[in-house]
Structures are given as structure tokens and as C-alpha cells.
């Protein structure tokens, strides 16, 4: 009798483990943006470092004296930032689209849209606010401002994608606050936040999720 009960328990054990695995997989697959690629982070990081180096070595080191120069610098700085943003988003979409294809996931699903929407609101707000700061001449605080809004956006969107995004967001927020305290070294914190952190988190995520 005892033996019979044991046999009955042990045979379906495998099935129950498989069931739990299937449940977890289906919950994740249906509610999370899993095609986000680690390579997107790595390329965004490299682009940010190149962009920041350009800003630092060609513009900020030789602040223009006349008003005309200042305006010109502002426009070049803005173009530099926009270029970094567009290239990063372009690569992020490309690598994520490729990963979705490889893993046979649907690229555009509810979770993708939720991620974009929840990241987009703080990001757009921060972007507009940064533009206002730029045209009002408060250039020093912009690095801190972009880090803070980006970090808040990541934390906000992280429940629809990988948990690492949550910690990346927290890191960006801390760097943003640091950049506000050490106001005149903002570009260093910006480079760490958008450059180094993206590369580090991108590499971690690439190793953890993409190589499998």
C-alpha cells in the first residue's frame, strides 16, 4: 500500500516540474518584452561615449566668448545629442528585431508597446524639459536632467521587460543626482551613465539572455 502511494507520487513528479516550467514560460512570454537585445545596450553605450567625447573635446573645452559662438555651439551640441539618440534607438530596434526573429518571438506585442509607452512618457518629458533648459541657457544642469528622467523611465518600464532594466534605471538616477551635486562635472557622470552603464548592463544581459 505504502509502495503504491509512493509510485503514484513519483511518476507524475516529472510532469509537475514540466508544468511549472511551462506556466512560468508562458507568463513571461505573454507579458514581457523579451526581444530587447543586450547588443542594443552595448552599441548605445559606445555611441554615447563617442558623442560625449566630441562634445567634451571640441566644444566644452573652448567655451565661445561671443553670443554668436554660444548659439552656434548650442546648435552643434543639440545636433550631437540628437545623433546619439537616433543612432542608439536605430541599433536598439535593429538588434531587438533580429533577436525576436532568432527566438521566434513576436517583435511588436502588448509588452513591447507597454515598454515603449512607459519609457516614453518620462523620456519625452525629460527631453522637452532639457530643450527648455538648453534654450534658457542652463546648460550645466542638462546632463543631470537627462540621467534622472531616463532613469525614472527605465524603472517605470522595467516591469514589462527584464529585471536588469530596473537596476540600470536606479543606477542612472543615482548618477543623475551626483551630476547635479557636482554640477560642472556633469559630462563625466553623463558618460558613465549613458556610456559605461549601457555597455556593462548590455554585456550582462547579452550573456544571460541572448547567448542561450
Amino acid at each position: 500500500m505504502q509502495f503504491k502511494v509512493l509510485l503514484f507520487i513519483f511518476t507524475p513528479m516529472e510532469k509537475q516540474l514540466e508544468d511549472i516550467k511551462a506556466i512560468r514560460e508562458m507568463m513571461e512570454k505573454s507579458s514581457k518584452f523579451l526581444s530587447l537585445s543586450g547588443l542594443a545596450g552595448i552599441t548605445a553605450g559606445i555611441t554615447a561615449i563617442v558623442g560625449a567625447s566630441f562634445a567634451y573635446f571640441y566644444l566644452l573645452r573652448y567655451p565661445g566668448a561671443t553670443d554668436f559662438n554660444r548659439f552656434q555651439e548650442m546648435i552643434i551640441l543639440l545636433a550631437d545629442a540628437m545623433l546619439v539618440l537616433i543612432i542608439s534607438i536605430g541599433f536598439a530596434l535593429y538588434f531587438s528585431w533580429k533577436k525576436a526573429k532568432k527566438k521566434k518571438l513576436k517583435f511588436i506585442n502588448k509588452a513591447t508597446l507597454s515598454t515603449i509607452y512607459n519609457l516614453g512618457i518620462p523620456l519625452l518629458t525629460g527631453g522637452i524639459f532639457s530643450l527648455i533648459l538648453l534654450f534658457r541657457g542652463n546648460v550645466e544642469i542638462i546632463a543631470s536632467n537627462t540621467l534622472l528622467f531616463y532613469g525614472l523611465g527605465l524603472v517605470n518600464a522595467s516591469k514589462y521587460t527584464f529585471e536588469e532594466i530596473h537596476y540600470l534605471g536606479i543606477t542612472e538616477i543615482i548618477l543623475g543626482i551626483a551630476a547635479a551635486i557636482f554640477l560642472y562635472h556633469g559630462i563625466i557622470f553623463w558618460t558613465i551613465g549613458f556610456g559605461v552603464c549601457h555597455i556593462v548592463y548590455g554585456a550582462i544581459m547579452y550573456k544571460k539572455y541572448d547567448l542561450k
Partner: protein
């Protein structure tokens, strides 16, 4: 032990029904085609399992129109959520 096994819900014995319930546990509502793609099923296969879960009142459907196309949305009921949670607890206890 025997008591725990009896807590396993027979309705969730099939992997497909398990899948449907899992998706609806974490999404407010999901339409037929999304479910079909997620679970990699044919129309008929999915429909029969949905029907079974609907008749148990574990899930509910609501029809709406997107343009002229009918679109059926599925959502989990309170009863469904409770039953699935019980099933999950039983599974967890069994493999402990």
C-alpha cells in the same frame, strides 16, 4: 500526500489549458489570435479548450468589433484565478 494530489485540478491537466490560464493570469485581457500565436495552436484546437474553460466559468469572453472584424477578448474570472492559484499551490507542494 494523497490530500495534496486531490488538490490538483483535473481541468488543468492539459498543457494547453495550463497555457491559456497562465497567459490570462498575467494579462488583463487577450484576444483569440494572440492566444493562438502564443500557444502555437490551430483555431479548432484552441477553441475547444477555450470552450471547456468557459463552461467551467474559469474564463469569460467579450466580443467587440474592430472596424468590421469581430474580435473576441478573453479574461480570467475570479473563480478561475482562485482555482488556478490552488492548482499552482498544489503543484508547488508536490515538488517540494
Amino acid at each position: 500526500m494523497a490530500n495534496i494530489i486531490s488538490n490538483l485540478n483535473k481541468a488543468f491537466d492539459s498543457r494547453i489549458r495550463l497555457g491559456i490560464m497562465s497567459v490570462l493570469m498575467v494579462n488583463d485581457s487577450v484576444d483569440f489570435n494572440t492566444l493562438k500565436e502564443l500557444l502555437e495552436l490551430t483555431d479548432g484546437n484552441l477553441a475547444s479548450h477555450i470552450k471547456a474553460l468557459e463552461s467551467l466559468e474559469y474564463i469569460q469572453s467579450s466580443k467587440q468589433f474592430i472596424g468590421r472584424k469581430p474580435n473576441t477578448q478573453y479574461a480570467i474570472t475570479d473563480e478561475g484565478r482562485r482555482s488556478f492559484q490552488e492548482h499552482l499551490n498544489a503543484l508547488e507542494q508536490l515538488i517540494r
